[in-house]
């Protein structure tokens, strides 16, 4: 079967190569198409300017709303709506929207915003498309796995509507670039997945006076509201103090049913369209709570702007300079990007390669896996002890007794037993080691990058999820 194995890996490799080339060609096509449209538009505009007209196509047809015949045809079903109509469409075409995050929420939001004719659409994300994103991040296709989400999302948006302008920001949003990027847009859509980003984006919107359409989803539930609009509250008015980190979960840690962020992302697009086109009642000072399992949607009244708010309140001194220097990761005790938490000094940590050597040398140790037990059941390293981080405090005696057993057995043979802590990505293991060291386990060290690093650097056959 050796030969067959060789053949199939050859086929897989060639397939991968072809898919990549296909993605590149598709991207090139959509870029060129967009460019062609832009050039055509500029030519039309030039002609118009030389004639002293604002929109030649519109004037030629006796239209004073500025929509071209192509636009009238494309958006006709929206123009036909008495409560929307040509005026709202015209507002939409003149508006610009930035969607932060091209993930579960951003996917449907971006597709609808591109389709409905937002004039300029910005996309910012630092991440690449992964196979385990596909079930919910429906804007991406398999051909883009391993490629930047922004490139993939932009390509999808262009293929839906090549007549709008799409800005690609392939970078992480940070305090250093947020003011500059957000200032280029009329409306901001928060489609991120973590507390520090949410505080940072809200603060930035307050400083720039931009409305913020904020959505969140996890598991089977979603939440939606519009912040900083028309005298309404900002994120900090509602949540002046960040929640404890144990109450902050990402979809990549706790799971999510794909369609749940899909529903919230669609509603974010809807609220954005209402703001941009100036129709309807925005969801400001109200919050929509979506419970998918029980099929309940509740819309509740929330507080208005707080005069005591440290960012948008009456006596707030928060300014752009303070914003740039504000440490949102420290404020929320939560990393901006999965895997970037740095809680421990170097000497309290070891790499997965170093741990492999410890295994090979059969050094006396205990490996403590602090993931939730349902994670542990998916896959684990052999001879590890599972005590989830949430139960570590109450189950500390188990660890003590296991350590004692090892010490007793090996009483005469050299140095004391080392304690290594592992989790999925290397964040919880740091929290565990910090706690263990405070509780007298001085030898505790964590494995940098967790089981993902183990799979990436030591054993490529070790399953990741």
């Amino acid at each position: 079967m050796e030969a067959n194995g060789g053949d199939s890996s050859e086929i897989v490799r060639e397939l991968e190569e072809l898919k990549l080339r296909k993605a590149e060609i598709e991207h090139r096509i959509s870029t060129l198409e967009a460019k062609l449209h832009e050039t055509a538009a500029v030519e039309r505009l030039d002609a118009a300017v030389s004639n002293g007209y604002s929109s030649p196509a519109a004037i030629e047809h006796g239209l004073d709303h500025g929509l071209s015949p192509d636009q009238i045809y494309r958006y006709s079903r929206q123009l036909l709506l008495p409560s929307f109509g040509v005026e709202a469409q015209s507002n939409l075409l003149k508006s610009s929207v930035l969607v932060i995050g091209a993930g579960g929420l951003g996917s449907p939001a971006l597709l609808y915003l591109a389709a409905c004719g937002v004039g300029r659409l910005g996309i910012i994300d630092h991440d690449v498309v992964e196979l385990n994103n596909m079930h919910r991040q429906i804007i991406h296709t398999e051909a883009f796995i391993g490629h930047p989400k922004v490139k993939s999302a932009a390509s999808a948006c262009r293929s839906v509507n090549s007549t709008i302008k799409i800005d690609e920001h392939v970078e992480a949003l940070r305090t250093s670039n947020a003011l500059e990027i957000l200032s280029q847009y009329d409306i901001i859509v928060d489609a991120t997945d973590n507390p520090p980003s949410r505080y940072m984006i809200s603060d930035c919107c307050v400083l720039l006076g931009k409305p913020l359409v904020s959505g969140a989803a996890l598991g089977m539930e979603g939440q939606l509201t519009v912040y900083n609009h028309n005298g309404g509250p900002c994120y900090r008015c509602l949540f002046p103090t960040p929640p404890p980190t144990s109450a902050c979960q990402r979809c990549s840690d706790s799971g999510v049913l794909g369609v749940v962020p899909g529903v919230i992302g669609c509603l974010q697009a809807l609220e954005t369209i209402k703001l941009a086109s100036m129709v309807g009642e925005p969801l400001s000072e109200r919050m929509l709570l979506f419970d998918a399992l029980s099929a309940r949607i509740r819309i509740v009244k929330i507080r208005g702007r707080s005069s005591q708010c440290t960012v948008c309140g009456d006596n707030s001194s928060f300014d752009k300079h303070q914003f740039k220097n504000f440490d949102y990761e420290d404020f929320t005790q939560f990393p901006l990007f999965a895997g970037s938490l740095k809680l421990l000094p170097k000497e309290s940590r070891i790499s997965s390669e170093e741990f492999k050597e410890i295994l090979q040398k059969k050094e006396r140790h205990i490996l403590l896996d602090v993931r939730p037990s349902h994670h542990y059941k998916i896959v684990s390293l052999p001879d590890s002890l599972n005590i989830p981080l949430a139960n570590l405090e109450s189950r500390l005696n188990e660890l003590t007794s296991v350590l004692k057993e090892k010490e007793d057995v090996n009483a005469e043979t050299g140095p004391c037993t080392s304690l290594y802590v592992v989790c999925r990505r290397g964040n919880d293991s740091q929290r565990a080691v910090q706690y263990l060291r405070e509780s007298g386990f001085d030898s505790a060290k964590d494995i940098i990058g967790g089981l993902e690093a183990w799979a990436a650097d030591v054993n490529p056959n070790f399953p990741t999820y």
């Binding site: 995050g101 993930g103 969140a216 996890l218 939440q223 404890p244 919230i264 509740r298 509740v300 929330i302």
Partner: protein
């Protein structure tokens, strides 16, 4: 006093994953009304089954929990001093961050 309590955004995990609780709460001794302050203490004792620190901090809810009395933020009705009446629906919801 018949009340409906609802837990969401993950808080239901603190009360055996049950989201809706129909409960009967008696007025505290010597009190004329039931306030949210009383109710929080009652919930802590009678409904919350684990990790109470994920629900309360001091005598109020922990940061990141919204309290809604009849679909209205309790900030608008006096927070801990809000008076609860027969058949009220009180929702405790943890804010979500995922996406």
């Amino acid at each position: 006093m018949q009340l409906t309590l609802e837990f969401g955004g993950g808080l239901e995990l603190l009360c055996e994953s049950k989201k809706i609780h129909k409960v009967n709460v008696d007025l505290p001794n010597g009190a004329d009304d039931l306030t949210m302050k009383h109710l929080l203490a009652w919930v802590r004792t009678n409904v919350i089954k684990e990790r109470p620190e994920m629900f309360l901090k001091g005598d109020t809810v922990r940061p990141g929990v919204l309290v809604l009395v009849n679909d209205c933020d309790w900030e608008l009705s006096g927070q801990l001093e809000t008076t609860i009446e027969e058949k009220d629906v009180i929702v405790f919801i943890s804010t979500l961050h995922g996406g």
